[in-house]
Amino acid sequence: MKRRVLVASLLLLTGLGPAPSLAASVYVKSLKAKLFAEPRFDAQLVVEAEKGQELLLMEKGERWFKVGLTTRQGWVSALLVSAEPPKGKASILGEDAEDISGKSRRRASAIATAGASRGLTEEGAKELDARDSKANWQALAKVEAAKVDRGEALTYLLAGINKGGEAKR
């Protein structure tokens, strides 16, 4: 309660409040998204929308949105759409990232990379590393190096599920 009061007070002080919510359109994030006649996965299928397709937002619930697609309308899971069309990510592992996997002598550089993203100097990053002996930045670099392309992943997932479904028919 105290925290809410504190946050609310600070929001008032800074002039920031909740942003306007209801957008005119939403966009399909998945390769396909099913529109149903009712907000249930076992309801009658109306139509399938494709990735990136714009849907007219007609009613916004917590878990299901009622949307229009050309002349048809139906309910889509709120998880499968976003308020904005696909755009860039906020990854900090872009042009300034480097692969340090397996090279312990470059560990400080990895932390400097992380530090640079925070605006820290390399010296400051070394201090941070020395201060936080409980962290393992080298392992984190390996985790980041192993990431896969989201399009490839989506295709892998759906292809496997579709294949499994066909095999059972």
Partner: protein, 277 residues
């Protein structure tokens, strides 16, 4: 706990005030983010912070370095995240080499699943449900909201970017305090009950929408409840009691029309890629 959060908020205010006279951070420009309340700079601050927490997770549990397994977990997780996660993040997935059954996610999209969890799973539907649950914690910004991690130029309440970019003692103490609190959520006290329930609801809906067996979360958690203790950082220690949780998941399945849906369990592909027995 609340007094600690208040203390942290006050510490952040002090840090922001201390750094207010410094040159403005070029990244602190307010811009439109993935939802109306968060800017792109907030997301950057979240990723920076999430990296710190993820490095701590890996300091606590060793990384399981099995290339093919890691790639499989990434393909399944990133596919789910591409369809049902936040667009502004690149999710990354890894396996932790511990027999404690659990999964963890840090802000910014770092998702960890333990070897102990994988050895208790029977198929990909169960794996997907657990990863989807963690993706939901990130996408819903559960830790971000609880710790009030924001970064816009005029937001002194969050002001994490200024704390992150600062090099003074106050900034370092504030940052360390925030990371400690995130660790406490992950390994000791768990998320708020409402956040756990929301993550469960999102998980079953997402795997159901994909065509997986939507009961995967139930079967995995039931098995884990029977075969694990309450050791620190375990799923029992950091999640709601199983009987209550089961009832809520079943209610969600029925409400979404998923209770009678079978879906695919993808056992064959899971067995081909997960050989940890």
């Amino acid at each position: 706990m609340r007094s600690r959060i208040l203390f942290t908020a006050i510490l952040l205010l002090m840090a922001a005030a201390t750094l207010a006279g410094a040159a403005p951070n070029p990244r602190a420009r307010l811009s439109q983010g993935s939802d109306g309340q968060y800017s792109a700079d907030d997301t950057r601050a979240e990723v920076d912070f999430g990296r710190e927490v993820a490095a701590r997770v890996l300091g606590r549990f060793p990384l399981l370095e099995e290339k093919e397994l890691t790639r499989y977990i990434n393909l399944v997780g990133a596919g789910l995240a591409a369809a049902g996660g936040r667009e502004d993040l690149e999710f990354k997935f890894a396996v932790l080499n511990t027999d404690i059954p659990n999964a963890f996610a840090t802000p910014g999209g770092y998702v960890f699943i333990t070897k102990g969890a994988l050895t208790r799973m029977k198929n990909e539907a169960e794996l997907s449900a657990v990863l989807a649950h963690e993706i939901a914690h990130v996408s819903r910004r559960h830790i971000v909201r609880e710790l009030n991690i924001k970064s816009s130029g005029s937001d002194v309440a969050g002001g994490l970017a200024r704390v992150i970019s600062g090099v003074g003692d106050v900034s370092r103490v504030a940052m360390g305090k925030m990371v400690d609190l995130a660790e406490e959520i992950l390994f000791t006290r768990g998320y708020a009950l409402d956040d756990e329930n929301q993550a469960d609801r999102d998980a079953v809906a997402l795997v159901g929408a994909f065509g997986y067996d939507p009961g995967g979360l139930l079967t995995y958690l039931e098995r884990t409840d029977k075969t694990s203790g309450r050791e620190p950082a375990s799923v029992k220690a950091t999640h709601p009691a199983w009987a209550e949780r089961k009832s809520r998941i079943e209610t969600t399945l029925a409400a979404d029309g998923l209770d009678k849906t079978k879906g695919q369990d993808m056992k064959e592909r899971f067995d081909e890629n997960v050989k940890l027995r």
